[in-house]
Symmetry: C2
Subunit: 317 residues, 2 copies
């Protein structure tokens, strides 16, 4: 059943949602970036919005904050992730749910930092909240946990930040230092101008916090403050060399259980499922009755993450 | 919402469904093996059934064929896979759907050999048909394709028979011949007394036929006769040795697209996702917008396959 989407945020993910919505049978009725918005209950022209965006023009004439009150079925929250109070994302989620509309998030903030409140708002709403895109890009890990039943899953762990994994892979392969490879990753567009959250473990930790919240169903709810986080900034090339000689690799492994969340560089055997290379992500689920399940794929990227957003939209009632 | 299950077949999978149903919130109201059946609308005692089964006693006093007409919500079809007319499995599916009940299959026969007829019966029924357990054991590949939308998936390929993969892995690791390793696998319980369908590619082909049917939504419908199938019986140890020297491995790879189904031994790089070891299975999905997704895990086993059956039951309306 086609849905009418309002898309907040026209970065890599929001842009790809605009491009792919129609091929999934949905219509875009509003879009906003941080400067302006376009709203049309009869459907906007996504291609024209992207042309204006590329030309650095305002995408429309409406106030961005007016979009949440527009006429739509599903709010797609793809604004940048913010920590702490997770604003303005949290207010967007609240506005949609309070008016009985669905919300699909690519923004990790509200789900990682204010999970209990989001679920509370959902319980009082005719709308639903979904957030597959917040963990592992195109990897449908949350749906898989949902399908197994969270109570039948004991842990989820994996490589959840492609930038950090690219850096560790290159450092080991080429014997180069962290700063050198980071600069290279920025040149290639694999690392952002400000790569802090990718290399210090924060981004992976947010994803693991979300996994933990899914495992506990929010009881208790985790936030970033509950996670033990260590990044890759201080991994010396010599440690990677020793690991290689020993048939192992260093990977930034995040782990979520019902009790704890942690992210840290760990040694894994080179032929282990967790030793993915480059920007690849992997999530490994420990099930009660069915052993380990590994899911690997592209953990980031516009079309990949938009595919997860649209899969969530497709699953809405 | 708890469902009332009738379980046909008390082999490894049916047995595990009996053991695990309650932990998923469901009740078993009937069970049958090939000799007898037990039916009780107030719920049977699965543990008592398994004790009788282990003691080689009849599990009940009813006629096995009477179960399909009993009072239940979901028929779990876990009798052995048969080819061609896929009987008696097909008749069980028909009886449940004609009386507006759901069917969840672990039996590949009806879905691989008579897909169009099964879907036709489903369209005229208030019941639904699900069959996650027929492909890849605990790997939720069909649900993942469903969630992406089959039209957004261009191909699925992988290692779908753990027995054949165990044999190829051991042959390469130990430099041993096919017959020797097969006998070893039988001793270990990895291969069945009659391993024909595992080593000649039939079992993997049935799974790929099912994948193709999901990709096309049955238009056109594939059956085993449409698959190009080659097994591992004639792979010489020398070929595996040459592959190893070249950094590659021989794997029995099945592939399904909307146009064709094939199974054959193929060379894959040793560090490729497809080069899983031992009895592990992997399915690799090519998506239109989100790259390759790999899912690996246990492709067989009672509790693993029963977990897929019960996930299907959990998804029923």
């Amino acid at each position: 059943m086609g849905k009418r989407l309002a898309v907040l945020g026209v970065g890599a993910v929001g842009r790809a949602v605009l491009e792919l919505a129609e091929s999934h049978g949905h219509e875009v009725v509003a879009a906003a970036d941080s400067r302006s918005a376009i709203i049309d209950a009869d459907g906007i022209d996504p291609a024209a919005v992207l042309v204006r965006k590329d030309g650095d023009e305002p995408i429309g004439t409406a106030d961005p904050e007016s979009v949440v009150q527009a006429d739509y079925d599903v709010l797609v929250e793809a604004t940048p992730t913010t920590l702490g109070d997770a604003q303005p994302g949290f207010n967007h989620v609240r506005a949609a749910l309070e008016t009985d509309r669905h919300v699909v998030l690519a923004n990790k903030g509200p789900i990682a930092e204010r999970y209990a409140e989001v679920r509370e708002l959902e319980r009082s709403s005719a709308g639903a909240v979904r957030f597959e895109a917040t963990v592992g890009g195109a990897i449908p890990i949350l749906q898989v946990i949902h399908d197994y039943g969270p109570q039948h899953v004991t842990a989820a762990r994996g490589v959840l930040n492609g930038t950090a994994n690219f850096i560790l892979t290159r450092m080991a392969d080429e014997g180069l230092g962290f700063e050198h490879v980071l600069a290279e990753a920025q040149d290639l567009g694999v690392a952002e101008a400000d790569p802090t959250f990718d290399v210090d473990g924060t981004d992976a930790a947010l994803k693991c916090v979300i996994l933990a919240n899914v495992l506990t169903d929010g009881d208790p709810a985790f936030s970033l403050a509950d996670a033990a986080v260590e990044g890759i900034e201080h991994v010396p090339p010599s440690a990677l060399e020793l690991a290689t000689e020993d048939g192992r690799a260093v990977r930034l492994i995040g782990e979520a259980t019902r009790e704890a969340v942690s992210v840290a560089p760990r040694l894994v055997p080179v032929n282990d499922a967790l030793a993915v290379s480059g920007t690849q992500n992997i999530v490994q689920v420990t099930t009660r009755d069915a052993g380990l399940l590994n899911l690997s794929g592209r953990g980031a990227g516009g079309p990949e993450t938009a595919t997860a957003v649209l899969a969530d939209v497709n699953r809405l009632p």
